[in-house]
Amino acid sequence: MNLDFSIALKYFPVLAHAAIYTVFLTVTSMAIGTVAGLFLALARLSRHGWLSKLVWGYVWIVRGTPMLLHLFFIYYAAPLFGLTLDAIPAAIIAMSLSASAYTSEIIRAGLQAVHHGQEEAARAIGMTYPAIIRQVVLPQAVRIMIPPYMSNFISHTKNSSLASVITVPEVMLTAQMIYSSTYRAIEILTAAGCIYLVLTSCLTGLQLWLERVTAYETRGLSPRRRRKLGLEPALAHGTDVPAE
């Protein structure tokens, strides 16, 4: 066997540049998918049966068909409707559809995991529905949603490689182009794998950080918030629970 990893090093900057596309596609479509997913989840839980059914149907179709198919479909079908989409916008649309379907289910699970009494107590003091969702339900639901949400984010990052089929020059397509001219598939694929691993490791780190900042009862109030609430500083007070 004859492996030459210096070739991987030589092309590493090219692959790293391609990673910008991977990150851009993933983050943009996750951002769109998350905002859309929140509203889809709220619609799915709505009292109006037709709205709930509509969202159910959307999730059923989008989640039940391959993202690869969505990519082709949007890229090739758009011209039929008089639209021409570049590869990147087409990829963002397709990936956002997928992200919204999956995150809507994760958000719904989180919202439903918050006990209905929480919402009821908020209604009883006269809070309106948007305020209840924002101030009472979501802060509790977010904490429950972080692990499945971040798992999905990691899957989504890897799935962005599918955008290579519609010529988005992200990591996978770039790797293929390099090894088809250098015939060094193993080395280049190893380098590409490392890039994905770095990206997904960042997400794993983000998950750890998010889990820590949302652990409200162990973190306690910030000194600034304490001051505003007129509470004495932490630990000066015997009855406060220490940070650990």
Partner: protein, 251 residues
């Protein structure tokens, strides 16, 4: 202050309220007793429209609850109108329902900042005073999970009082508590009653009803079976059903 006329509420084929009428005067304390499933909770939940009555009328402070009379028609309140109405009706739940992601003080003041638009510092000052009043000045920065049941329920009472409601509804406020924690909650409720709050209390605490209530109502199977002053109802129940219930519970 509270008027309930011929209230019916069905859940599917189950009749939870079967024609209840009731009126509570300003500053009056009414205790509602009765076996579980008798409709006590449903009655309270209809008063602040957490539950929509199937039929009947509820008024609080002279205004119809849940509906608006307009020229020639009656329509259901919008979400915003319902919220504004509920802000004036305090409610305390059996299972507290404190918000676990907020400290005791934040639980108490959320209504002030979110519903009444009171600035945070002002709300916090009022919240601190209320927590002191229910005996929890040393627990203001504690999260609910670090509080005992009795402390949680006292926070919940302070949270309801913060809105300066016109009436307070207590839905079996001590039923989920360990026996030794019941008294501290009842004492706070008694203090609220002494200060002139109009209260409707669903409870199994006969001692409290006897001591604090101006009037006791015995409910069974969605109906008011008997109503009277506590000394009359407890000593000389007129209805056989009331007598059997009291014998069982006081035995």
């Amino acid at each position: 202050m509270i008027g309930v006329e011929d209230l019916y509420k069905s859940f599917g084929s189950v009749r939870a309220l079967d024609g209840v009428s009731l009126s509570v005067g300003l500053g009056e304390v009414v205790c509602v007793i009765g076996p579980s499933g008798s409709g006590k909770s449903t009655l309270l939940r209809c008063i602040n429209f957490l539950e929509e009555p199937t039929r009947g009328l509820v008024r609080v402070d002279g205004r119809r609850v849940g509906y608006v009379q307009e020229v020639g028609r009656t329509r259901r309140m919008s979400g915003r109108e319902l919220a504004r109405m509920r802000a004036d009706i305090g409610m305390v739940f059996q299972l507290f329902y404190l918000w676990p992601h907020m400290t005791a003080l934040e639980n108490v003041i959320l209504g002030l900042t979110s519903v009444r638009g009171v600035p945070l510092e002002v709300a916090a000052r009022r919240g601190r005073a209320l927590l002191a009043k229910v005996g929890l000045s040393d627990k203001m920065a504690a999260y609910p999970e670090h509080l005992s049941g009795g402390q949680r329920q006292r926070v919940a009472i302070a949270r309801a009082l913060a809105m300066e409601p016109k009436v307070m509804l207590f839905d079996e406020p001590t039923s989920a508590l360990d026996p030794e924690l019941v008294e501290e909650v009842l004492q706070v409720m008694e203090q609220v009653a002494r200060e002139g709050m109009t209260m409707v209390v669903a409870t199994h605490e006969m001692g409290f009803a006897r001591r604090v209530a101006d009037r006791v109502i015995f409910m069974d199977r969605g109906r008011v079976v008997e109503t009277g002053r506590p000394e009359d109802l407890f000593e000389r129940p007129r209805q056989e059903r009331t007598k059997r219930f009291l014998d069982k519970i006081l035995a």
